[in-house]
Point group: C2
């Protein structure tokens, strides 16, 4: 399979997983988090899928198409490791859906950030929230979900936040 | 349609058009030109589609995955406006297939480069050669071809080089 084939499959997987999660949270109130704006394509897709939701975007440095940049109230600039833990204090409520696409070409860095996210993200999530991620997130609070039909395993990752919290994922601050 | 949808359609169109052209040149000898290496995805796809062909890649500055960089004999670095006209002198024969993906976010620049390419490319092509392009190429030497099934018009462009040359497209140097 060429890199073009592989890239198309990744984007199709991303779109299918976002579509699944958006459908699954229909009855679950709460804002949406987009971790990594990039060129803004998935942010644009999320706001089309979920026009009624507040979407908060975390990005180190904006490099997106001007049409795909959220307003200042929904754009949190800086290192996600610094900004995400603070979100617990200002988010309007527990998060219904989080999409994380923060991978780079650096596999070690990706694994490191994914391990951090797997701990940092669950405290922000509503019970029953959905998480869509380009990296595997290993956490007892996140239950891996089957991917949509036709999507290869490991192309993208979908999790459901445990409906009943044991309290383990409360913020440690 | 979101930018994610649109981007997936563009890549699918690109892949379908490359597949069509690669099938159509099966009986036509000659090298392949890739104008714009970018991240190397379509170069990787072309060499998978056409493993027996020489592929010459023109790129201003290499920024591709290391696995997708051609050897020095097949990588022509520099401004394509300077390097492409010289190719007439050193190519091993008339070109069977050219793929041009040189567009940027700058529409005026794209139109300008496409107009230049529409004149500069035909002299290098074999009669009956195929051209696949991200930009429309308007030249009496290039006959627009129907796109593969399911591909929206204007997403990508496919041309066939007139089988009989009137001589109009001989290089002017």
């Amino acid at each position: 399979m060429s890199r073009l084939d592989s890239f198309i499959r990744r984007l199709e997987a991303q779109r299918a997983c976002l579509g699944l999660a958006a459908a699954m949270i229909r009855a679950l109130p709460g804002p949406v988090l987009e971790l990594g704006l990039g060129n803004g394509r998935t942010y644009d897709h999320l706001r089309e899928l979920l026009p009624e939701r507040e979407i908060f975007v975390f990005e180190r440095e904006v490099n997106a198409h001007p049409d795909c940049v959220p307003d200042a109230a929904h754009l949190i600039l800086g290192d996600v490791r610094a900004t995400l833990p603070q979100a617990y204090g200002w988010l309007p409520g527990p998060v219904a859906l989080a999409h994380s696409d923060v991978g780079t070409g650096d596999a070690a860095r990706n694994a490191d950030l994914a391990a951090w996210l797997a701990d940092a993200l669950p405290p922000l999530l509503a019970p029953g929230a959905w998480v869509v991620s380009d990296q595997p997130l290993r956490s007892p609070a996140l239950v891996a979900q089957p991917l949509p039909a036709g999507i290869d395993p490991e192309r993208y990752f979908v999790y459901n936040h445990r409906a009943k919290s044991s309290g383990d994922d409360r913020p440690k601050v």
